[in-house]
């Protein structure tokens, strides 16, 4: 399998080629460039699977391809000069992620045939070109072997999201949403960039892996008790880690930078599927997983990650409860689910976080594509109150969507249950030892209830009861290009949990936690990038209920499953029936608060208008009066002097002769006196 890694660059380059092809020749091609994209992503998927197999057979690929700049200045604690390179790192984590990303991208391309082509959209070559570029950026980001390369493709991912969210640029809301997404994530990326520079300047390298990676050097600095930039090593690692986290919070839509994501629903639904499941939003959490070794060195940073995640999970779930638009509900569920992943990573559950990232990719892509199918059925109506009764008319959509919903709600045996349960279990055992983390756990746990509620509110309103509009009574047809991706993802949502049946394994003492072994390097991997290595670095003390792991496991699972079921059940009782009532009225003022998303948009606008604008005005006034005053003063002096000099030039040649002779005599006198010629 050694030779297979030669083709590693092609995984990302294939979609790039599709981008070029769709852009240049899309209009002349059948399906306007979709075919190129499908072949490219299928090729990427095939190669990614081969990489996965190669990694499973114990191989790892880490190679630098291109060095585009090198500096002589050594880092703070490194002896050698810094090098900026493009390289590829394929280890268990990135191989897994490559498969997920290319699979989702392929399915989205296929689905687009039904969602975009069949609906007669214009601008399709642009659409497929941007999808190709998006896929390329994400794949390159996933197997980047250093932080700067990751940053570059992270930015490119952001750019592509901007382009795709604003795909329908002739509407009023899409460009505005695209701008918002771009600006808000850019705000986070600003900190990320500062963090990249700080890490590069401190350690003289940005490599993720290898003997001289910044992680290894940070660990050495920590062990050696060094002082970095005037801080002790651990504080500095925390600071730089949190700076990088800024980018993560922006991209993965964590509190307080989550506001862009619901607006981003303005893009085509297929794009939402790609953004939420496998690319843009996933990029943030993936970055934390990628440099988990670095965060493991800083318990403070991890604690912040855990609390941001837990809070976001609850906060976003509460807002999803009152939304009427099917895509809005899904948008808030995404924010909430990424909160779980952050919670999992923050409490040291590296495997749990990655597991949930994987499962979420499947079921969220499924739900969005399912929503896309519903939107096709409903002739582009997105309000759930106008739907209803689609269950009989579109069974494939219904059952696959239901599979995704069950996974999202965390109902056994769907995939979401296993991973969410593991996240919560990891939080619980840490919280039992360190009570502070119990708060994070509690937030995650309460969010489970909300998740079950809003998920089933959505399912019941959309598919059950009687049709509540003409469109719902006479749904549009959907073709196989729509159904096939749904079925594939539906099966994955049902079965992906098998990858890591941790509770079963622990209760029955069986070795069936494949993902944990995979990420722990049992099949192959780099030693310093394994779950085991991270856990050793972390050295978390964990507790258990009644001193028994099994009891803790059962109590935790029962709690979360019970809450999920009660949430789902409440939704069922409230909204089932042929003509459900809008119970949100009963929430009173809370409803308004939730509908307005806790007035966060208003708060951010106030930040811009009430705070930033006056400061900017003051700076402007200073610039106008003081700085410009000085500059204007200089220029008026110059112009005045200029006019004066011009007046000497009279145009009369005798005056010139007199001036020349006079000038010489003057010089002669000065020099003569100075040089003592007259003595």
């Amino acid at each position: 399998m050694e030779g297979i890694f030669t083709y590693a660059p092609a995984i990302a380059l294939l979609p790039l080629a599709a981008f070029v092809v769709a852009l240049c020749f899309g209009n002349a091609m059948p399906k306007k460039g979709a075919i190129a994209g499908i072949f490219a992503t299928a090729g990427s998927l095939g190669l990614s699977l081969l990489m996965l197999a190669a990694v499973a057979s114990g191989e790892v690929h880490h190679e630098t391809y291109y060095q585009w700049a090198a500096g002589e200045t050594a880092g703070h604690s490194a002896a050698q000069g810094i090098e900026f390179t493009f390289g590829i790192l394929i280890d268990p984590l990135s191989a897994l992620m490559l498969v997920i990303v290319s699979l989702i991208a392929l399915l989205v391309h296929v689905f687009s045939l039904g969602y975009m082509n069949a609906e007669g959209e214009t601008g399709l070559p642009r659409y497929y070109a941007e999808l190709g570029l998006f896929t390329f950026s994400m794949l390159a980001f996933v197997y980047a072997d250093n932080l700067l390369m990751a940053f570059m493709f992270f930015e490119l991912v952001g750019l592509c999201s901007y382009l795709l969210i604003g795909f329908w640029f002739r509407t009023e809301s899409a460009p505005s949403a695209a701008k918002k997404a771009f600006l808000v994530t850019r705000f986070g990326d600003y900190f990320f960039l500062v963090g990249v520079v700080a890490i590069g300047a401190t350690f003289g390298t940005l490599a993720f892996a290898g003997d001289n990676s910044f992680v290894a050097q940070a660990e050495a600095a920590l062990d050696g008790g060094e002082t970095l930039f005037g801080f002790d090593a651990r504080t500095w690692i925390t600071i730089t880690g949190l700076l990088v986290l800024g980018g993560v919070i922006g991209k993965s839509a964590q509190f307080p930078l989550q506001t862009w994501l619901p607006d981003a629903m303005e893009g085509p639904t297929t794009v939402s599927a790609l953004i939420h499941a496998a690319t843009m939003v996933a990029a943030g959490v993936y970055l934390v997983a990628r440099m988990f070794g670095y965060y493991a060195l800083s318990p403070t940073a991890l604690g912040i990650i855990a609390f941001v995640g837990g809070f976001t999970a609850l906060f976003a779930a509460s807002m999803a409860v009152v939304k009427d638009d099917i895509k809005q509900v899904l948008a808030y569920s995404t924010i909430s689910q990424y909160g779980y992943m952050m919670l999992g990573l923050g409490v040291g559950g590296y495997v749990a976080g990655v597991f949930h990232l994987m499962n979420h990719a499947f079921f969220k892509a499924l739900l969005f594509l399912g929503a896309g199918a519903v939107i096709i059925l409903m002739h582009h109506e997105q309000n759930m109150w106008k739907m209803g009764g689609l269950k009989e008319k579109a069974p494939v959509t219904y059952y696959t969507f239901l599979a995704g919903a069950l996974a999202l709600a965390g109902i056994i045996p769907f995939s979401g249950f296993w991973s969410k349960d593991e996240v919560l279990y990891d939080a619980l055992i840490l919280g039992l030892e360190n009570q502070l983390y119990l708060a994070a756990y509690a937030m995650g746990l309460i969010a489970v209830f909300f998740t079950g509620f809003y998920t089933f509110r959505m399912v019941v309103l959309t598919f059950h009861g009687e049709p509540r509009s003409e469109a719902a009574e006479d749904p549009h047809d959907i073709g196989w290009s729509v159904k096939a991706p749904l079925i594939v993802l539906g099966l994955l949502s049902l079965t992906a949990g098998i990858a890591n049946l941790a509770p079963v394994g622990k209760l029955l003492d069986m070795d069936i936690m494949f993902l944990e072994m995979w990420l722990d390097g049992h099949y192959g991997g780099l030693e310093e990038l394994t779950y085991g290595a991270y856990s050793d670095t972390l050295a978390h003390e964990t507790g258990a209920i009644a001193g028994s792991e099994q009891t803790t496991l059962l109590v935790g699972a029962a709690l979360s499953l019970g809450l999920a079921l009660s949430g789902a059940g409440l939704a069922w009782t409230l909204y089932s029936g042929s003509d459900p009532a809008q119970h949100t009225q009963r929430l009173g003022s809370v409803r308004e608060l939730l509908r307005s998303n806790y007035y966060q948009d208003e708060f951010q606008v106030w930040l811009a208008e009430g705070l930033t604008l006056p400061v900017a005005r003051t700076a402007d006034r200073f610039d106008q009066s003081v700085i410009d005053g000085v500059v204007d003063g200089v220029s008026s002096v110059s112009l005045f002097g200029s006019g004066w000099i011009k007046r000497i030039q009279t145009g009369i040649v005798t005056n010139y002769a007199a001036l020349i002779v006079g000038g010489f005599v003057g010089l002669l006198v000065v020099l003569g006196v100075y040089g003592g010629w007259f003595v």
Partner: protein, 502 residues
């Protein structure tokens, strides 16, 4: 196989080519004086100057002037050191021949319909011969002869538009001021001769100490007057705006680029060879580099300040040319601080780049005169709509003159700046920065007029004269590509400078 291996006098081959071309032009015209074949005349002049350019570049690359220890042919001395062919001389011959060929090409269109075509080209070539000889002169007497050989055709060239009052007036003013300066200069020569008893530069240097200090000092000051006239530096700069404004635009380009460069080469050579700083200071009691410091600052300041409020584009360029003389004077002002080759090399580089950007700018003005659009900034409004290529080239010249990256003018000015810092001349460095900032104001005013302002009246389509366009575009391309070529140019300039200041 180089010609100089047969005979030393072959080292002056570029000069011979130029003078031969001038004579051929006379011959062509005298065969049939009533008929004027413009193509033949302009073609001959261009071909001659290009051959001279090629020979000069060939010699430079082949190693003429490079010390024999470095594998070159060494400096060629002719007539017991009255003339020398070294790297400095060849470097300036390259500059002069380049400007001459650009001017010849551009004149083909500009002189259309004018009389005295053959005379025009042969006078240009004769002036170029004088300038090239100045570059190689190594004795006060050859310098004076070469200087007059340059000046006399120049007076006639400025006044060659005989039915144009401005041209006649400019020619007369130029001649009067020139005569005054020549008188001062030749008097200076006699005083130096009186003080030292020699005219050959090395001989003067060897006999400085025997001279009477005040007499020598006065002589040096008067020599300086002659150089200031040729380079249009304060206080003998008054002629420049008048002459450039009235002269045909290609001649203005010729005088402000080539003639100025020739003035600088003799100033550099005389002051470094004949009057070594330390010895001279001991004899006359004054450090002449201080004098040049004052003159450099005064020249750049007066030139740029006067340019700032001009309404006439050609006059603005004339004053800017005075300002650039001030920048080049840094080469002499910075001597004696231990970084002589760097300072002098920076000045040489600036003159080299200046040869392209300033010639190009004046040729653009020539193009505007050819179109007949007018002379002021306002008349240039909105020209870019009709002639985008030429306006883009002009924009390159303006930004390069102002010293904006990535054009050649930025690098030469940057080297001047760092060189003056290295030489410890912080006042000069500050003046350089302030004046450059001021110059950006009036250069960008022109760019604004070309690209942003609306034309005052309706304008017909503008013709595209091939010769002028070719010269302008070539100058613009050179202004840009001098950047990648800056390594070799810089090496040659620093070598040439090192050879004379050593």
């Amino acid at each position: 196989m180089l010609p100089i291996e047969f005979a030393g006098w072959a080292g002056l081959a570029p000069v011979y080519v130029l003078v031969a071309t001038a004579l051929v032009l006379f011959a062509v015209d005298s065969i049939d004086p009533r008929k004027t074949n413009r193509t033949l005349l302009a073609g001959t002049a261009t071909a001659g100057s290009l051959v001279a350019l090629a020979v000069a570049v060939w010699f430079l690359l082949a190693g003429v002037g490079t010390p024999q220890v470095d594998g070159g042919f060494g400096v060629i001395e002719l007539h017991e050191g009255q003339l020398v062919v070294d790297q400095l001389a060849l470097f300036f011959m390259v500059v002069i021949a380049t400007v001459t060929s650009l001017v010849s090409v551009a004149s083909y269109d500009y002189m259309e319909g004018h009389t005295y075509q053959a005379e025009y080209y042969s006078l240009t070539l004769l002036a170029a011969t004088g300038m090239a000889t100045m570059a190689a002169s190594n004795s006060l007497v050859t310098i004076f002869i070469a200087l007059e050989l340059t000046s006399l055709p120049s007076y006639a060239l400025v006044a060659i538009l005989k039915d144009n009052r401005g041209s006649i007036e400019a020619g007369l003013k130029y001649f009067l001021i020139g005569a005054l300066s020549s008188a001062i200069f030749v008097y200076g020569i006699s005083l130096v001769y009186g003080a030292t008893g020699f005219l050959q530069l090395e001989a003067i240097a060897n006999n400085l100490e025997s001279g009477y200090g005040p007499l020598l000092g006065l002589g040096i000051l008067m020599l300086l007057g002659g150089f200031a006239f040729k380079t249009a530096s304060v206080p003998v700069h008054f002629w420049a705006p008048e002459a450039y404004e009235g002269a045909p635009a290609p001649i203005a380009a010729f005088l402000s680029s080539a003639s100025k460069a020739a003035g600088f080469v003799i100033a550099f050579r005389v002051f470094t060879t004949a009057f070594p700083l330390e010895t001279t200071t001991a004899v006359i009691g004054i450090d002449w580099s201080v004098l040049f410091t004052v003159l450099a600052i005064a020249t750049m300041t007066i030139g740029n300040f006067a340019a700032a409020t001009q309404e006439n584009v050609k006059r603005m360029l004339a004053y800017s040319s005075v300002g650039h003389a001030g920048y080049a004077l840094i080469g002499l002002a910075g001597l004696g601080a231990g970084v002589n080759d760097v300072v002098m090399g920076a000045a040489l580089m600036h003159l080299f780049v200046y040869g392209f950007m300033n010639t190009g700018a004046f040729l653009f003005v020539g193009l505007a005169e050819y179109w007949g659009v007018g002379r002021t900034f306002e008349d240039y409004n909105g020209l870019s709509a009709k002639a985008p290529v030429a306006c883009a080239a002009m924009t390159v010249f303006m930004f390069s003159l102002a010293g904006i990256p990535p054009f050649g003018g930025f690098f030469s000015k940057y080297f001047l700046f760092t060189a003056s810092i290295d030489a410890g001349m912080f006042a000069v460095a500050a003046a350089l920065v302030i004046n450059s900032a001021l110059s950006l104001y009036y250069y960008s005013r022109l760019i604004k007029a070309l690209w942003i302002e609306e034309p005052i009246g309706e304008r017909d389509a503008l013709s595209q004269p091939l010769g002028l366009y070719a010269a302008i575009v070539f100058a613009a391309v050179m202004t840009v590509v001098v950047l990648p070529g800056f390594g070799p140019v810089a090496d040659v300039a620093v070598d040439a400078a090192a050879a004379i200041v050593a």
